[in-house]
Amino acid sequence: MEKTINITLKVWRQAGPKAPGRFETYKLDNISVDASFLEMIDILNEKLVGEHNEPIAFDHDCREGICGMCSLYINGHPHGPDTEITTCQLHMRKFSDGETITIEPWRSAGFPVIKDLMVDRGAYDKIIQAGGFISINTGGVPDGNALPIPKPHADEAMDAAACIGCGACAAACKNGSAMLFVAAKVSQLALLPQGQIERKARAKAMIAKMEELGFGNCTNTGACEAECPKAVSISHIARLNREFLSAKFAD
């Protein structure tokens, strides 16, 4: 027999960006522990629709932990109690029978609520648009093997590039800082020979945009690293700080 649990949910409901929000309580019985957290919400939403009520709005898409769209703050943790996973990979076996589970949207000045558990993370796109790229056009580039890259550099760049842009770092941070997100991109490109030419300009432009968009500063609490579903290390923030300072000194 499949193991099931009974749970109580306290879910943040908010009709729109300007509307006042509140917690609603829902009870769900006989939830399979093999169901994913989002499948549990699907079950609740099916129930709500069946009762001709509006379902809970939440962001999700790939449901395999890579698109970065899911974004729930569960029992006080971005992406819930498990480590190195996104909400869509969280399974109900991580909760116990009779437990009350609190679900909120990301709470951060940089991510305004759109509806219920859905937030606007357009700010992260804007930070990338400010400099998170190498300025080359399609075509006319050198052969892929023209520039050898030491394997440790390529591997570390890949560690940073694993960021999925979900926003858990800023949501976890008491300062609402997006430093880990910015650091992941700056660090990836600073480690690669292709990224050298715009290295200084990139660090300055991305930091400036981050500050302009209302994200806070980093005070090294490490909450971002602890909650990051892809385990992006705060050592990248250290590299970002070095990049930024050396760019400033060069001015």
Binding site: S32, D34, A35, S36, L38, E39, D42, E46, L48, V49, G50, E54, D59, H60, D61, C62, R63, E64, G65, I66, C67, G68, M69, D82, E84, Q89, H91, R93, I114, M118, R121, G122, D125, I128, A130, G132, F133, I134, T138, G139, V141, P142, D143, G144, N145, P148, I149, P150, K151, A154, D155, A157, M158, A161, A162, G165, Q188, L189, Q194, G195
Partner: protein
């Protein structure tokens, strides 16, 4: 030597394949096509729908060239497109490992892998531009895997005997998409691309026989909006979610394809759907999607089921562990049946072989619908650290979902719908049968024939977006430089918007007692049971009727809460489901008419003595092109004949 040519004639479908020898066609085309000069590019607007590998690379490249681009995605950011979930890698004919690869071999493997149902000229071009894609991505800062000398590393993949697959751990799609996204972001930042995130295309607007814009719904406000462009490019991905359960993202849909189809674009080969052999098996009726485990796992994992039925039964009952089964009592059925390719046979072959063993009673897992993918030998040979370095993130994903440690006990896998080779018909220029309407990436039907090889989807999406469409679209736009920007108040825009609003009002007014998902699950079951891995005439006839009933049920009994003019996820799903029902019908009809087995399309009636797909080149060497004829009339099927001028078609053989 060519085999006997198929005889059906009388089609007006012209793929516009350039003259000349195979290896010179693309060069000839580029040398003679029309171009648009820089001053005129600024005056031309192009809509690109979709921000996956195809859409993002096309939008970025077109904007770099100087066109004004409007780019749409339904997600909150272009970086979320489902290309991001591709794991294993991207093929290219670089021959860096010096193992005998070439453009011709990549072309040949792709044509053969597609079971000789793709156009030679398109596939050759794909192989030809593959190397440029790798160079482009490296230049963007994509952190591909490298060896200790600092050069790019390659792995092997199903359907090939060379190592030509470039990869970035198990996240190749993510890294390639983020590369395209960074190029796109740069163009958004400089104002050359206007991004419309959380917008969903709901119709294409045709003026004087040419695509001139789209109608889209702002998913946040619910507002219906009009957009003009001189040309429309759609890269909206595949329609695998017609099966409800698939490895696609929850929002992946076939609606843009159906809108194009209803406006005159042919829907080609809808029945060619790929069932991926290595997915995590279904576990409950609340399940929302299936998770793929990269095919790259088949490089080192060995697939098996118990040799004895009683062992399989004991495993299903939870009385026996797989690790307790002795080597001689295991059936490594792919190695047994296909000694030359072993566990690396193409996806369709591996999927059917798994189904065959499970149907015969040797399946494992609680449902009996699973086979083992075992790494014990690889761990013994290479050490756990090497296996972890190669597949660590996949093993972690598996463990989080299934709660089982694949380093200690074999993974369980089963086939699932993954990719659709069929799609909107396009000519050599990637233009649909509607002028000014282009279709790229998985959304079109062009390069994979009846089956796609692993690591070829990323290649095709980026080939279309970086290196093909940006050329071919100019051949069309060169004639459009005198066309001024049109007003979105023209009657054609007004009518298209009204039709969209009428459809939404109709859905909202039904107020029945079925949720969208409950009807979608019902459709999915019909698709899996009758239009899935093994199809036959009787089942497909039933499917056509059942899908008609589901269509009636939807339009009579669906319930969508909330208001249309606000954020309404149920309405979004309902609009997509209405189109999946149409696609399901097309898939079943197409599978019914194709009385042969080829690639991902397997008809039980047409197989060799040892159970392999049996093609019929005399009668079915064509792309079936379905033409919309109206809401309540049967679609008409046209044929684009596939003439094989350059290679000899053979029965696919992965045994020796």
């Amino acid at each position: 030597m060519m085999q006997e040519q198929a005889t059906a004639k009388g089609t007006a479908i012209d793929a516009k394949i350039p003259e000349g020898p195979l290896a010179e066609k693309w060069t000839n085309y580029k040398n003679h096509q029309k171009l648009v000069n820089p001053a005129n590019k600024r005056r031309l607007d192009i809509i690109v729908v979709g921000t996956g590998l195809a859409g993002a690379s096309a939008a970025a490249s077109l904007a770099e060239m100087g066109f004004n681009v409007l780019n749409f995605c339904y997600q909150d950011s272009p970086r979320r497109a489902h290309s991001i979930a591709a794991q294993g890698g991207i093929n290219a004919a670089k021959n860096y490992p010096n193992d005998g690869d070439s453009v011709y071999r990549l072309f040949y493997d792709t044509i053969k892998g597609g079971d000789y149902r793709a156009r030679e000229a398109n596939v050759y071009r794909l192989a030809e531009v593959s190397n440029s894609i790798i160079d482009q991505c490296v230049a963007q800062g994509v952190p591909f895997a490298r060896d200790y000398g600092g050069l790019l590393d390659n792995r092997s993949f199903g359907g090939a005997q060379v190592s030509r697959t470039f990869y970035a751990r198990g996240q190749t799609g993510q890294q390639l998409l983020l590369g395209a996204y960074s190029a796109l972001s740069r163009q958004i930042g400089r104002g050359a691309v206007k991004l419309y995130a959380r917008h969903e295309m709901l119709d294409v607007v045709i003026i004087d026989g040419r695509a001139r814009g789209i109608i889209a719904r702002n998913l946040v406000t619910g507002r219906i909006e009009r957009f003009f462009a001189h040309a429309v490019v759609v890269g909206s991905g595949g329609y695998g979610n017609a099966f409800f359960l698939s490895t696609n993202a929850m929002g992946s849909n076939g609606s843009a394809a159906i809108q194009m189809y209803k406006k005159g674009a042919y829907f080609a080969n809808p029945c060619y759907a790929q069932i991926h052999p290595t997915c995590i098996p279904v576990h409950g009726d609340y399940q929302s999607k299936l998770t793929l485990m990269s095919e790259s796992l088949r490089n080192d994992g060995r697939i098996w089921v118990p040799k004895k039925k009683e062992d399989a039964e004991a495993i299903r009952a939870g009385k026996l562990k797989p690790t307790a089964i002795k080597e001689e009592d295991r059936d490594y059925y792919l190695e047994r049946r296909y000694p030359a390719f072993g566990n690396l046979v193409p996806r369709d072959v591996a999927s059917r072989a798994a189904k065959e063993r499970c149907d015969a009673g040797f399946g494992v897992g609680s449902t009996g619908l699973a086979v083992y993918l075992d790494f014990a030998d690889a761990i013994a040979r290479l050490g756990e650290d090497v296996v972890r370095a190669r597949y660590g993130n996949l093993f972690q994903m598996y463990e989080k979902i299934v709660d089982d440690n694949p380093y200690k006990t074999p993974m369980m896998i089963y086939p699932a719908i993954h990719y659709t080779m069929g799609g909107i018909w396009v000519d050599y220029e990637l233009q649909t049968s509607v002028k000014g309407l282009f279709c790229i990436g998985e959304a079109n039907f062009s390069d994979h024939g009846a089956n796609r090889l692993g690591a070829s989807a990323l290649m095709q999406g980026l080939a279309d977006g970086y290196f093909v469409l940006p050329y071919t679209i100019q051949n069309y736009l060169a004639d459009q430089i005198q066309v001024p920007r049109m007003s979105i108040d023209l009657p054609e825009f007004e009518e298209a918007e009204k039709a969209v609003n009428d459809k939404i009002d109709k859905i909202m007014s039904i107020r029945g007692n079925r949720s969208v998902d409950s009807i979608h699950r019902e459709l999915g079951l019909v698709m899996w049971d009758f239009v899935g891995m093994a199809r036959d005439k009787e089942g497909l006839r039933q499917a056509v009727e059942k899908i008609k009933d589901i269509r009636k049920e939807f339009w009579a009994n669906v319930y969508v809460p909330g208001k249309p003019d606000s954020l309404n996820v149920e309405l979004e799903k309902a609009l997509r489901l209405a189109d999946f029902i149409e696609i399901g019908g097309l898939m079943a009809r197409d599978a019914l008419q194709r009385e042969e087995s080829c690639g991902g399309h397997f008809r039980i009636e047409y197989q060799t003595e040892d159970g392999e797909a049996l093609r019929d080149d005399n009668h079915f060497s064509f792309a079936s092109c379905w033409k919309y004829t109206g809401e309540d009339s049967e679609p008409e099927m046209l044929k684009e004949m596939l003439d094989y001028e350059f290679i000899k078609r053979q029965q696919r053989n992965y045994k020796a």
